[in-house]
Symmetry: C6
Subunit: 208 residues, 6 copies
């Protein structure tokens, strides 16, 4: 019963990732949440160093590309961001949740919905490249079992997918990408979530 199922896209900031574990693949949920504050970042879910650095890198990327997504940069200093990965007692690490974390925080700051039945796996770099990751076969099996229909991953992982028998990939659409901008274009719908947060900011200090 430890194996999770896809859970819908009603909420901003919740994105489905793919994880490799010693007992097979699984999906996992990246949850992001904002509250009025001063721009503090909180990470939870027993995340290891590499995964924490992925989150920090994703946030830096988003901050420096805020304009492209129509995000007012003042949100970063007027709201706190919390990224959590259930289940809370299970240690998690590695770089492969990078693009999932980015999509999660892009969704929470834009309040845009995430495409339905979509999952993803891939390392993010600070300049916005998507790097290949391991465990593709197990991840695909887990995605299918969890009712995922579309998967985003690095173009360099295409060969790993093609090595798998077609019976396992049937019914799945694969999006191979090189840049995280492509990830966001695929994953973020133009439609906002119901009752989107109306971000409010303190007045700016005067500029010179």
């Amino acid at each position: 019963f430890d194996k999770d199922l896809y859970e819908g896209n009603e909420l901003a900031g919740v994105v489905t990732g793919l994880a490799w574990t010693p007992v097979g693949g699984d999906i996992l949920f990246i949850e992001s949440n904002v509250s009025k504050g001063k721009g503090q970042l909180t990470l939870s879910g027993q995340l290891g160093d590499v995964m924490k650095e992925s989150a920090i890198t994703a946030l830096s990327y988003l901050k420096s590309h805020a304009d492209d997504l129509g995000i007012d940069y003042k949100v970063f200093s007027n709201y706190d961001l919390h990224i959590h990965v259930p289940q809370g007692a299970v240690p998690k690490d590695g770089p492969s949740a990078g693009i999932t974390i980015l999509t999660s925080i892009a969704s929470i700051y834009t309040q845009r919905k995430v495409k339905n039945n979509l999952a993803m796996t891939g390392e993010i770099t600070l300049r916005g490249k998507v790097l290949p990751v391991g465990g593709i076969k197990e991840k695909i099996l887990a995605a299918k079992r969890a009712n995922i229909k579309e998967i985003i991953m690095c173009y360099k992982n295409r060969k790993d997918v093609e090595e798998i028998g077609e019976q396992y990939t049937k019914g799945l659409t694969f999006h191979y990408v090189d840049y995280v901008s492509e990830v966001l274009e695929i994953a973020l719908l133009n439609q906002k979530v119901k009752k989107p947060i109306q971000f409010e900011f303190k007045s700016e200090e005067p500029k010179s």
Copy 2:
């Protein structure tokens, strides 16, 4: 004599949880307390990393759902919050106190009473899901012995309850939930505690 009994609901911020220990189940009390300050969070009671992250996640959830509970968000930056779990020398860990901690801090910030003779166990996620936890049998036995009448837990734990003989669950009402909003609806009475705190805030800085 280490086994505790239910202790009433006169105070805001005190909620009864269920714990699994190597020598059987037990109830435990989550105590929350606020004092004028700048929004600092203090955790005590020899809490492990996972339990600390549960508390932080519960607080983030509450902050971003303050409106739903009629909580003025300014309380979070004008008061310090302390969460303590007696007994102070006993190490505690794990995610299963998540919804108990959330109820405790929701009670302290709303000053609403917690339902009488109620206990609960369940992991919280940042988007407000309740996840199943372990040790259900031992926890139920402990709850009964401690004079608990109603128990809240994740719907996915229902099968664990049904596996227990009826003689052990007789006299107990079970509330199975999927979302923490359901937990708060069951656990928080509309009635406030006696002499509720009247929260006071410094004047806001002007908004743009």
Copy 3:
């Protein structure tokens, strides 16, 4: 010569506790001290984690019950608090100094004298309960030897006292309590110390 004697109640913030050590019971002194500052808390005396959490819990309790003791809450942000437990080279830990620490800081902030020839032992919880502690027999022997006349402890420790022969408890008065409010009522005299500190505060920011 390591065994200490009771040392009077001339100073605010000095309260006598009871300690269990591998070589028998002993009394110890909790010393609190305030100086103009910004509300920083300093703990010293080679205190372990559990004892530090006791002190933090005692301070939180006092802050949220300042009104009851006539303490102006502004003192907490305008003065630094230092709690020290001599002897500085002896490691100390455990929750049993909880109510002693609370009494010590209540005395320093109210400048009220502590009752003469009084000692105490008991864990504090955040909501103000007093919990039972161990080593009662050794602590009572040490208290008598140190010239203590009255002892405060948790009602649940009464049975530990009654198990001791009367010749050991003769001449000692025991106060059994359930709540820390009872501790303070017994321990704090209405009389202030000589030359009490006149707390001074910076002007408040305007309220809305």
Copy 4:
């Protein structure tokens, strides 16, 4: 497939370094990124202590030579800087990326392009000297394989290059330098990247 290829110079802040690993040389990318903030420095990519100190030293050097590069020093307190070295799960350490890091942050703050098909390796000191590093042979082989055409290193590493057979260095141009000012002169083009960041600053406090 772990061996990377040169990836162009379209982006500011991305510079190619040369790394020695137990399984041979490789190129690596130093990525720098700025976002509005207060001057915080973030380092990621599982960097060891020595490599972190290299980055801090490079940043100090740049700050005190900002004028020489036409960088308004206010950028350092009005923007956060993030330096990341993919791949995120591979631990990296050592001083040899010093001049590569410097070039990366000089590029991001000036928005100038980095020379095409260029790589570099060398320790930086705070006063701006370039020191020799090890693993030259493996690094050169890796550079060639990765499509690098020009390499900057310390003059003292010249003898290491000359020890290598000409067939391995053919087609490569070597720049031997003593000072990091020479590195920047070679590596930074006058041409800015497309859509360069227009840095904006809060108004200065008045000077005396």
Copy 5:
């Protein structure tokens, strides 16, 4: 040549202590120094935890007794304090330098000279008691060899002195004390050092 000699009292903030080491007693110098700042405390000289807590306790005591010594409390928030104990590579620990540290910082803040050819050893408590310490015999031999003429210690150490043959204590004057106020009365001369620091403060914020 590791054995030091008394070095005069020309400078404020330099006080001679007595140390026990595995190879016999020695004198040591506590050096205090202030510079304009915000009240930061720096400790150096490879001090262990217990010795650091002694210094912090001494500073707290001094702050809350500033009036008694004519010290303007504003000095504590307008100047940084550094306490150093040479030799920098020799680890030091224990509580016995407590009163020496107190005298050192009292001297630096009052700019009063320390009595000539004086040394001291004793633990300080927060309420201002002096506690006995060990190694008295070795310390006295070291003091004599170092040209010390007067020694301050706890009254409870008198018996340790009396156990030593008179030939070893001849020419030494012993001051036995119970309170640190007695230490300061003996140790601090009314005379200020040459060219005393003229402390300057920023203007106070208005009081209510």
Copy 6:
């Protein structure tokens, strides 16, 4: 090739020290650098605890003797200071670089040149004494080999020099000192470096 040579005195803040290593003496360079900031101190070069404390002690000494050197104390809170010791991957520790570090930061804050072909070794104390250090023979041999002409050290190290055969010390001038003020008088030329930094300060807050 690991053995360095003297490198001139064109830059402020660069001073030559003498180091003992398991494979013989060597010279090392202390590099200091300032940039506009808030008075933060950064230390790099894999420095151990004792060496870091030396640097902190040197800075405290300089701050409290700023007037003597004509340094405006405002520089300490308006500029950040970075002290680096190449080579970045070589761990360094011990107190013997104390006076070298002091000279380095005195040079950077005064922008005065350091005497040519000069090296030094000696521990610094907070009150400004110079203490003797070890490894004198190896250090002198290294200094000679590195083209050093004058060496400053503690008067108490004179006997170590005199034990060395004259053929090794020929051509070297030794300056024996007791106080760091003597070090600075010898080491700092009145002449400023080329293009000295013109320190700029924010306006002061009004004084009372």
